[in-house]
C-alpha cells in the first residue's frame, strides 16, 4: 500500500517540480525579451547642420534627445545655446510613444520646421530640418 502510494506520488512530485520550473523559466524568458524590447525603443537626436562660427557649435555635433528636451539660452535648458537670436526658453522637443514632437515656447524669433514657422505642436521625423535662431538642426532617428 505504502509502496503503491509512494510510486504514484513520485510522479506527482516530479510533475509539480517541472511545472514550477516551466513557470519560472517562462517569466525569465519574458524578462529577457523585455530587456531586448527596451533597447529597441527608437531614439532621436539633433545634428547641427549650420551654425555661426562665434557660437562654438561645430557642424556635425549631435545632441541626443530625451523624453523631454528643452532648447534655449537660459541655464535650465537641456541644450543651452548662448545666442542673442534665441529666446531664454525657445522650444521643446518631446518623445511620446516613440513619436517625436516639437513645440515652440512663444519665442521671439520663432522656430521653423522645413522652412515653415511653427505655431503649435508639430510632429517631426527623421530628416526634417529645424531652424532655431541662426542655427539649423537636422533630425536623425
Amino acid at each position: 500500500m505504502i509502496g503503491y502510494v509512494g510510486f504514484v506520488m513520485k510522479f506527482i512530485v516530479i510533475a509539480i517540480i517541472y511545472i514550477i520550473l516551466f513557470r519560472i523559466i517562462k517569466i525569465m524568458y519574458l524578462d529577457l525579451r523585455g530587456i531586448k524590447d527596451r533597447k529597441d525603443v527608437k531614439s532621436f537626436a539633433l545634428e547641427v547642420q549650420d551654425a555661426p562660427d562665434s557660437l562654438e557649435l561645430s557642424k556635425g555635433s549631435v545632441f541626443p534627445l530625451h523624453t523631454v528636451t528643452n532648447i534655449g539660452r537660459k541655464d535650465d535648458n537641456h541644450i543651452i545655446i548662448n545666442d542673442p537670436f534665441i529666446s531664454a526658453n525657445h522650444a521643446t522637443l518631446f518623445i511620446e510613444k516613440g513619436r517625436l514632437f516639437i513645440k515652440d515656447l512663444e519665442s521671439t524669433n520663432g522656430t521653423y520646421l522645413n522652412g515653415n514657422k511653427i505655431y503649435d505642436v508639430e510632429e517631426i521625423s527623421d530628416g526634417d530640418v529645424i531652424e532655431i535662431g541662426r542655427i539649423i538642426f537636422k533630425v536623425i532617428g
Partner: protein, 405 residues
Amino acid sequence: MKKEEKTILKSIYLVTLLMFFQLSISFGKFDFLPIILGFSSCILIVSSYFIISHFFPRGDKYLLILSSFITQFGLVMIYRLNSQNPIRTVKQISFFTIGIAVYMFLVIFLPEIKKFERLRYVYIIITILLLSSTLILGREIKGSKNWIKIGSFNMQPSEIAKLFLILYFASSIKYIKNYYDALKESIPVFISIGLLVLEKDLGAGLIFFGIYITMLYIGTSNFKYILSAVIIFLFGGIASYFIFPHVKVRVDIWLNPFAYKTGKGYQICQSLFAIAQGGLFGTGLGLGYPQFIPEVHNDFIFSAICEEFGLLGASALILLYILLVYRGLRTAIYATDDYSRLVAVGISSMLAFQIFVVIGGVTKMIPMTGITLPFVSYGGSSMLLNFISLGVLQKISESGWEGHE
C-alpha cells in the same frame, strides 16, 4: 509579475508539503514530525517572501524563491536520511531559519556594496588568517584539516574565507593595468589556494581558483592572464599530485574507483550504484537505499537525490541551480558600479563552481573533493555563508534597479 510569483510560491508550498507528507507515511507508521517540519519551512518562506516583496520591492525576488525551493530538497532529503534520529533535520531547519534571518538583516542594514571597496587589505588579511587558523587550531575530520571547533560548534573557516576573497579581488581588479600588476594582485589568491592544499581541502582550492579566474576574466577581459593562470594552476596541480599523497589517492580513485571498491573508493562506488539505481523517475521518496553511501547527508546528498527522484528530479535540481546562477549574473548586469558588479559575478561564480565541483565529484566526472552542495547539504557554516552571499546579491540587485524603474 507579482501574481505569477505567488502562483510559483503556492506550487512550491504544495510540493514541499507533498514530499514531507510522503515521508510521514513511508516508514511503516504515520509520523507527525515531517508534517510539522514541512509547515514550518513553508511558513518561513511565506514570511520571508512577504518581507522582501513588501519592503524591498525593487530587488530580485527570484533569488529568494529559487534558493528556498532548493533548500526544501535538502530538508526533505536530510529528514529521509536520518528518519530514525531527526535531530539533524531540526538542526538544519534552524540553520535555514538563521540563514533567512541573516539574509533579511543584510538586506535591511547592509550599506551600499561599493562602500566596502576601500577596505581591501582588511579582506585579504582576514582571508589568510581564516585559512591559516585551521593549520594551528584546526582538527582533522574525515581526512581534511579544515574544521575549527568553537564550543560545541564545528565550523569551516574556508567557507567564510571565500566571501572575503571575493570582496578583496573585486576591489583589486581595477589596479590591474599590465602583466606585472596582475601577478602582484594575484599573489594573495595563490597563497590562499596553497594553504587550502596544505589543509587537504582540495575542493575549496578548486572553487577559489574558479572564482579567481572568472573574476579576472570578467574584470580585465584579457585572455592572456587567464591562460597564464591556468598554466600555473596545472603545474601546481601536477606538482601536488606527486608531492601530496592525499591528492594522488583522490586522483587514483577517480581514474578507477572499482579497483578500490572495498577501501578508499567505497564511497564513490556506492554513490555510482545509487545513481544507477534511480533510473529515470527514481525509486520514490523513502523507497531507495541511499544509506549505504557513507556521509550521504553531507557531500553525497546529490547521489541520494538521484536515487530517489531519478534523473528527472536531479536534472530539475540542476536547472534550479542554473537559474539561480543566471539570476546572480543578471544582478551583475544591472548593477550600477563596477565593484558591486564584480562582487555579484564572484558570488555567482562561487555558487556555480561549488555546484559543479560537488555534482561532478559524486558522479565521477572530476576527482571527488569533499565540499558541500549549496543550500542542500547538511551543515551550518555552509548554509549560513550561502545565505550571506545571497543577501549581498539581493542588496546589489536592489540598488541596481533604481536606475531602471
